[in-house]
């Protein structure tokens, strides 16, 4: 669009708002589908949203989207106005959902700066066909039920009043091209004339009832005759002032011509009055609504660009570091600074409050992500002809926005797997004595600094034998099958190059395996585990950190290097003193703490760092319990506990995929510390 009011931020708002609208639309449709029918409110909502999308898309010159929304709007207009008895609601939902998909695809293109030029003709044809079918089944109706009164007979009563110095004029108005709705503009003129004239007529006479008159006026102009006491100049000026007037013909008439033409035009002022009176009634009603309007408070919400929040988060992170740099400044070492310490404590209190607040602002409920799964389950259950119920539990649990973005895809994958492979067909279920409708439960739960998301199905469960056979075939077994616990066998499905399904279906098994799910979660510091009971179902549990920006960490040293290990990973730290060192048959060192064996990983050996502390008695052990695989890290010394801001590793280091390192951070004295990723030590 050439207009200068359209800019990038307009486009951004358009995409954002339209995405929001179709999300709302999708929920309305899915909600309606559950009850089997569309409530009046739902129909109205679909209508309104389509109307909004139509308007915005037309402004953006996205004709295909505008056209699609327009057609949908028409369809729901018909349904709203006629309330047809026989509607194939399932087909209606399919239609709207495919419309939503189309709009979504187009918006994606726009976001990727590609032209949004998808072909909408098939969809339009489908909607038209549906509407025709609906009309045929339920009887047609007049497209616009006119609420205005029928046209009364010509010749207003007032015309007989004393004429005095009345003069008659006739004006023909021609409107500018493209101003649209000429008949209503003409009507506005008549409406405004009321106060100025004693009597009037106009041609075409049926501008109110018949919208086709707009075309007539475009071509032949709109003719108004008036009988008035006002001077000719004033009347001319009135007509000249009409909005979007292209040309005006204005002439004086004699009384006889006026009367003749008036009866020819067959209309009068009475009609205008009657129409006005009719709407007067409605006006009374809205008085009460006005009172309600005043009582309702305005909304106290604003939307904020996520980029700004990210920036804010970054700055708060820097501030936390800066605070540490001041408070733990080496120059202060050994000084007695009571006042300073007091002020520093106050500063710390405020920074941590700000930090909490910024975190909470970034938290979004999982509900939206969960609701998206409704659509997937719905589509799949239709295609696969399995009856599936999706149950959401605690979907209002909140997670950092960054994390939410990363779990949508893995979650979708798990849900697909559950419906496709996990759940049996209705016959199998009945044969096994289960309800023929399968259930998939999507549950969120807050556990300390983590959020657990569980995808649970009541299907056939994982087949251990099949998993083992597949793992053997693909050569990914790490130890003899006989020695593996059930849990270890299940865990095999997360290894790269593993796919249990024999047949490949449309929904799952496209070569993207569970290993991708696991990888995606690792990226945000999460993990996935599986639990299954044969014949009763499978549960996949995603464990996610609440946030990945700031963590509570323990700083430690090895030689001259500094490391930080997330507090959440530490079980405890011990010195050798009372504990026993043992060696397994392969000669691996183990630490025995209260009867439990912890394999020892010497960090200086692991990272090949020269240090003077190689004697196990001099250093310290950090006991870590990572997913039921306990081990301990041997380090030189602990520096202390601190909140650290997690920074990504520079790209050149990231590419080397160094095991055991998850990121880096700045310490109070300005030195760099590497953040340990405990999962890297057991892999």
């Amino acid at each position: 669009m050439a207009d200068k009011f359209i800019n990038d931020s307009m486009l951004e708002v358009y995409v954002f708002e339209t995405l929001q609208n179709i999300e709302q639309l999708e929920n309305a449709v899915l909600e309606s589908e559950k009850t089997g029918r569309y409530s009046a409110a739902a129909i109205n909502e679909v209508f309104r949203i389509m109307h909004t999308i139509k308007g915005s898309s037309a402004m953006m010159m996205l004709d295909n989207l505008a056209e699609l929304a327009h057609k949908m709007e028409d369809l729901f207009y018909y349904i709203r106005e006629t309330q047809p008895k026989q509607v194939d609601y399932a087909a209606l939902s399919d239609l709207v959902l495919s419309g939503i998909d189309f709009i979504q695809a187009e918006l994606k293109k726009i976001q990727n700066k590609e032209p949004a030029n998808g072909d909408v003709s098939d969809l339009l044809a489908a909607i038209t066909a549906f509407l025709e079918h609906l009309k045929a089944a339920n009887g047609d109706f007049k497209q616009e039920q006119n609420t205005l009164p029928a046209q009364p007979a010509a010749g207003g009563g007032q015309a007989a009043q004393p004429a005095g110095k009345l003069a008659a004029y006739e004006a023909v108005l021609y409107y500018e091209e493209g101003c649209e709705m000429e008949n209503i503009r003409a009507y506005g003129v008549i409406h405004n004339l009321q106060e100025m004239v004693e009597d009037l007529y106009y041609r075409p006479a049926d501008i109110l009832e018949n919208d086709e008159t707009a075309a007539y006026i475009r071509e032949h102009g709109f003719t108004v005759g008036v009988l008035t006491a006002r001077p000719a100049e004033e009347m001319r000026r009135f007509f000249e002032d009409v909005l979007f007037l292209e040309k005006l013909e204005f002439r004086e008439l004699d009384a006889a011509t006026f009367t003749a033409r008036k009866s020819g035009a067959a209309t009068g002022r009475a009609q205008v009055k009657a129409a006005t009176a009719e709407f007067g009634e409605n006006e009374e009603k809205s008085g009460a609504q006005k009172a309600a309007a005043v009582a309702t408070a305005g909304q106290g919400m604003i939307s904020v660009n996520v980029a700004k929040l990210d920036k804010l988060m970054d700055l708060v992170g820097e501030m936390v570091i800066a605070e540490a740099m001041v408070v733990q400044n080496p120059d202060l070492a050994g000084l007695e600074l009571e006042n300073f310490r007091q002020a520093a404590r106050q500063l710390h209190k405020i920074t941590s409050e700000i930090q909490d607040l910024v975190m909470s602002v970034r938290m979004v409920p999982l509900a939206n992500t969960f609701l998206k799964m409704q659509r997937i389950v719905r589509d799949m259950s239709k295609k696969l002809q399995k009856e599936v119920k999706l149950q959401l539990i605690d979907e209002d649990t909140e997670v950092d926005k960054n994390i939410i973005e990363h779990i949508s895809d893995p979650l979708m994958h798990l849900i697909r797997n559950a419906v496709d492979h996990g759940l049996e067909t209705a016959e199998e279920r009945l044969a096994a004595g289960k309800d023929k409708t399968g259930t998939v439960v999507l549950e969120a739960r807050n556990v300390g600094n983590h959020v657990l998301i569980m995808v649970r199905d009541d299907g056939r469960g994982l087949d251990k034998e099949k998993i083992l056979r597949r793992a053997e075939k693909n050569n990914i077994l790490t130890k003899p099958a006989e020695e593996m616990t059930e849990k270890e066998i299940f865990q095999l499905i997360f290894l790269p190059g593993f796919s249990t399904s024999e047949q490949i279906t449309e929904y799952s098994g496209r070569g993207v395996g569970m290993d991708v799910v696991a990888k995606n979660l690792e990226k945000v510091g999460g993990s996935v585990s599986v639990d299954s009971v044969s014949g009763q179902g499978t549960t996949l549990t995603l464990k996610l950190p609440l946030t990945m920006a700031i963590i509570e960490g323990m700083n430690l040293t090895v030689g001259r290097a500094r490391y930080t290990i997330p507090i959440s990973a530490i079980k405890e730290s011990v010195r050798l003193e009372n504990h026993k060192l043992i060696k397994d048959t392969d000669g691996n060192e183990m630490l025995l703490v209260r009867g439990e064996c912890y394999p020892i990983i010497r960090l200086h050996e692991f990272f090949k760092i020269p240090t003077e502390v190689t004697n196990l008695e001099d250093g310290i052990f950090i006991l870590v319990d990572y997913e039921d695989k306990p081990f301990c890290l041997f380090v030189d010394d602990l520096l202390g506990q601190q909140e650290v801001v997690v920074k990504a590793l520079p790209r050149y280091i990231q590419n080397k995929r160094i095991r055991g390192i998850g990121g880096c951070t700045l310490l109070g004295d300005g030195s760099i510390s590497l953040i340990l990723d405990v999962s890297g030590f057991v892999a």
């Binding site: 709007e73 609420t147 609504q289 006005k290 309702t296």
Partner: protein, 118 residues
């Protein structure tokens, strides 16, 4: 310069009108995203002119128009409509709307309509 209250449930539309107005030195007195809020905002900020969308949740543009005209019979309200809403626009004109603009609207169209009414 004239102060305008922009009422539309779509932020996109509000932004479109706002940009057009700002290009021509108008002042935006306020924005509202439904009829209820519009009536409330009207009383708060007493704008010179209102652009009022018709299809909105809570309270639609027609109802809001009538409420505004009740509060201030001299209110200058321009309806923002779409093709196909002829009947609504007729009713709006009968209820006191000064004029209307039709989506998708052009900048000069909007400005001209407002100038005429002020």
């Amino acid at each position: 310069m004239a102060r305008v209250l922009i009422v539309d449930d779509a932020a996109f539309m509000r932004m479109a009108i706002k940009n057009m107005l700002l290009n021509h030195g108008y002042e935006v007195a306020g924005e509202a995203e439904n009829g209820l809020a519009a009536v409330k905002k009207y009383m708060e900020c007493k704008p010179d002119i209102v652009t009022l969308d018709i299809t909105m949740p809570e309270m639609n543009g027609l109802e809001a128009l009538k409420a505004i005209m009740k509060i201030d019979p001299k209110a200058k309200v321009v309806m923002v409509s779409a093709m196909g809403q002829e009947n609504m626009v007729k009713e709006a004109i009968l209820s006191g709307a000064k004029s209307f603009i039709i989506k998708p609207f052009k900048e000069d169209h909007v400005i001209k309509t407002l100038q005429k009414i002020l």
